[in-house]
């Protein structure tokens, strides 16, 4: 093994090792040595992620003025014509990402100290959290698609482990399995996609793929095809349209896991990959059009599902899908900065939303928003204030981070010649504000009326998630300060928009995204629609005497459609029934029974039958045998003693 560097290695790259390795060490040490000491494991894990956070912040500070990517790699595997390096690629995008990942992981782990206290799997929980953080940070720093894919799968694995963390609960293991299998469907496409790329370029290096040389190596159709296949992985990971149903089910995991999963790690990996390969993807306008469409569809579907859900975590889960749809839309429209900035801002306020909801769930032991409201969730000042701020950021209210990122997204949509995309985005903004404030009003202003009886309890609450944790006021205080830090980030991030934009745009030439274009009016329309959504929520849920029945719930078929998640799960179940159970497995069963078993039976029976057929040659009479023997002897002796014959 020898070291070689593509670009001049800078000393700052070496800082990446202390930035990324400690969580892995914590994971291994926890699993090997400290499983029996929960406090030690938690300390180890939090300490290691703190080291990572400090190192990433120092790196960001050192490299804030960097001009080009820095790569440092070791040859992992070399065969004829095949060279697989392993190492780090550091540029503006993943510098930002590791800061986001390590800070969110750090805050979530601190929060988990209170949330998971007393759980029998405490050490295991922290070990998996460390594994998750390590995998995600290395994913962002991968210089080749192969290395990225390895960590991509590790991220999938650790999210599977954490979603199914309470494995004694059947629904949790089912949800973990669902997440794993559905993302795997996308990953298979991703794998085929990068093999296709490899066949045409002989190289999986990300900077090379993003370079101009690649488009020369590809026929345009193959470029589009491989872009679409790689996008399949993004669809699975980021829970976009065809594969979106695993994310709401992933709510079976502990709430801090949802916070992590939905903001900085699992689902962000998909959008990150899009941003990472943004110049590559933008070489194929046809593929970009498809991405835009898929982002729009998922954004809209998930927003409608969020409107009718009563489960506080599921509302935020649907909203995550919806916001990821916004990011994919922005990137698909060529707005590189808009997508990445929305990802960053969303990581902040969505983890905040989940952590706040976690406090309520932990305190009152239910996921149902109506019940939480009735039980008096608003009496908890810190989470109530922070969840309102976070919901305002999610809806895009000035001056929170969501306002700026939404505006950037809308700007990139407005730069498209077709106004339909912008219109869809504006509808999304309206729906986002509506469902966020619907939840907030139900939570903060409980009314005696409640939801109408008779309608199916959609993805219903019930005391199911966290009943094993005893309530204690003190722990809720220890869970409060990560909320405050995240709120501060949410409030301030918007003002860092311009420096971040200058920072991120270095080196990205493709898709400059001239903001505005012919539709300048979106600057007014987007915040206006957000306010309109909030006002509609106020009229229906907030004002005195409101019946707390949404406009969708007045139309039962529509309500049922949304509550059943557009029947996507039903469709999948049908598909599994028809294609897998009645098709493939039936064929396999028949093959086993009719071909393999039958042929072996036939072989045995054929032998017996053959024996029976030949058996007539045998009379079983001993004297005939004797006669034959004598006859043969006589003939032989004649043959030998009388050579005349």
């Amino acid at each position: 093994m020898f070291f070689h560097s593509v670009l001049s290695p800078q000393s700052s790259v070496l800082l990446l090792i202390p930035a990324t390795m400690p969580p892995l060490v914590a994971f291994l040490v926890t699993f090997v040595f400290t499983r029996r000491q929960p406090r030690l494991s938690a300390g180890l894990s939090i300490g290691s992620i703190a080291v990572s956070l400090v190192c990433s912040l120092v790196l960001l500070g050192l490299n804030f003025k960097m001009t080009g990517p820095v790569q440092y790699s070791v040859r992992l595997l070399a065969s004829s014509g095949l060279d697989i390096p392993f190492g780090f690629l550091l540029d503006q995008l993943n510098l930002l990402m590791i800061v986001v990942v390590s800070s969110i992981c750090f805050l979530v782990q601190v929060y988990s100290l209170g949330y998971m206290a007393g759980d029998p799997g405490f050490s295991r929980y922290y070990a998996f959290m460390s594994l998750f953080a390590w995998a995600m940070m290395n994913l962002t720093l991968s210089p080749t698609l192969l290395q990225l894919y390895i960590f991509w799968e590790l991220v999938g694995l650790s999210s599977y482990l954490l979603i199914g963390f309470w494995y004694e609960k059947f629904s949790a293991t089912q949800a973990g399995k669902k997440a794993f299998v559905m993302t795997r469907a996308g990953d298979a496409a991703f794998f085929i996609g990068f093999l296709l790329v490899f066949l045409h370029t002989g190289n999986l290096s990300i900077p090379d793929l993003n370079g101009p040389a690649v488009s020369a190596a590809f026929p345009p159709t193959v470029l589009t095809l491989s872009a679409l296949l790689i996008f399949g992985g993004i669809v699975g990971k980021s829970a976009q349209f065809p594969l979106l149903t695993w994310l709401p089910d992933a709510m079976e995991g502990p709430t801090p896991v949802s916070a992590l999963l939905h903001s900085a790690t699992m689902v962000a990996a998909g959008v990150y990959l899009f941003a990472r390969l943004f110049p590559f993807f933008s070489m194929s306008p046809a593929a970009m059009e498809v991405f835009l469409a898929i982002g729009t569809i998922s954004m809209f579907l998930a927003a409608t599902m969020a409107i009718v859900s009563r489960d506080i975590k599921k509302v935020w889960a649907f909203s995550t899908i919806s916001q990821l749809g916004f990011m994919i839309m922005a990137l698909g429209a060529g707005g590189y900065f808009a997508g990445v900035f929305h990802l960053t801002a969303h990581a902040g306020f969505k983890s905040l939303l989940f952590l706040c909801s976690g406090v309520f769930i932990h305190r009152y032991g239910t996921n149902d928003v109506y019940e939480l409201g009735r039980l008096g969730a608003r009496r908890m000042i810190v989470p109530t204030v922070t969840i309102i701020l976070a919901a305002a950021a999610l809806s895009g209210f000035w001056p929170l981070s969501g306002y700026y990122s939404k505006e950037a997204v809308m700007g990139s949509l407005a730069s498209l010649p077709n106004p339909a995309w912008l219109a869809a985005g504006l509808v999304g903004v309206f729906l986002t504000a509506y469902y966020s404030f619907r939840l907030i009003f139900i939570l903060v202003l409980p009314r005696a009326v409640g939801p109408p009886a008779g309608l199916p309890a959609a993805s219903g609450g019930g005391r199911k998630t966290d009943e094993r944790h005893p309530n204690s006021e003190i722990r809720h205080l220890s869970m409060a300060w990560p909320l405050i830090v995240l709120t501060a980030i949410t409030v301030m991030l918007g003002f860092l928009r311009n420096p971040l934009k200058d920072f991120l745009q270095v080196g990205i030439t493709a898709g400059g995204a001239a903001e505005g274009g012919p539709f300048e009016w979106f600057h007014v329309a987007a915040p206006g629609l957000a306010v309109a959504g909030a006002v509609l929520a106020w009229v229906e849920f907030g004002r005195r005497g409101a019946k707390q029945i949404g406009f969708v719930e007045r139309v039962p078929p529509l309500y049922r459609l949304f509550a059943e998640r557009w029947y996507i799960d039903h469709f999948y179940r049908l598909l599994v029934n028809v294609v897998v159970d009645k098709g493939i497995s039936y064929l396999c069963y028949q093959n086993d029974n009719k071909v393999i078993d039958r042929s072996i039976d036939e072989l045995g029976e054929g032998t017996i039958e053959g024996g029976r057929i030949v058996a007539f040659l045998q009379s079983g009479m001993i004297q005939y045998r004797l006669l034959v023997i004598f006859a043969v002897m006589v003939l032989l002796s004649i043959y030998f003693f009388f050579p005349v014959f």
Partner: protein
């Protein structure tokens, strides 16, 4: 030597043929064993005649062994036949064809 060796061979051959005929034709297990004994004795006659013809006692020693073997063979054979008769109540060899 009074009796020529050719006559001895002729007599032995006739007896052997009679033994073969008995073993093959008779439908009785005991008669089959009897036929085998007759064949053995025919062979013994040839051995004795040959010993006299070439003045070599090896042939006569051989006959002693043959007699001993024939005696054991008859006792074992008869025991088997008695057992077979007890099981099936028959001496007919065509009844003993389970292995076909």
């Amino acid at each position: 030597m009074i009796v020529p060796f050719g006559h001895v061979l002729l007599v032995a051959g006739i007896i052997f043929a009679l033994g073969v005929f008995c073993a093959v034709v008779r439908r009785n297990l005991i008669m089959i064993v009897l036929g085998i004994e007759i064949m053995l004795n025919a062979a013994s006659i040839v051995f004795v005649g040959a010993a006299l013809r070439w003045n070599n006692l090896d042939g006569q020693t051989f006959v002693l062994f043959i007699l001993a073997v024939a005696a054991t063979e008859v006792s074992v054979g008869l025991a088997i036949i008695v057992y077979a008769f007890r099981r099936t109540g028959s001496f007919d060899p065509s009844n003993f064809n389970l292995l076909r």
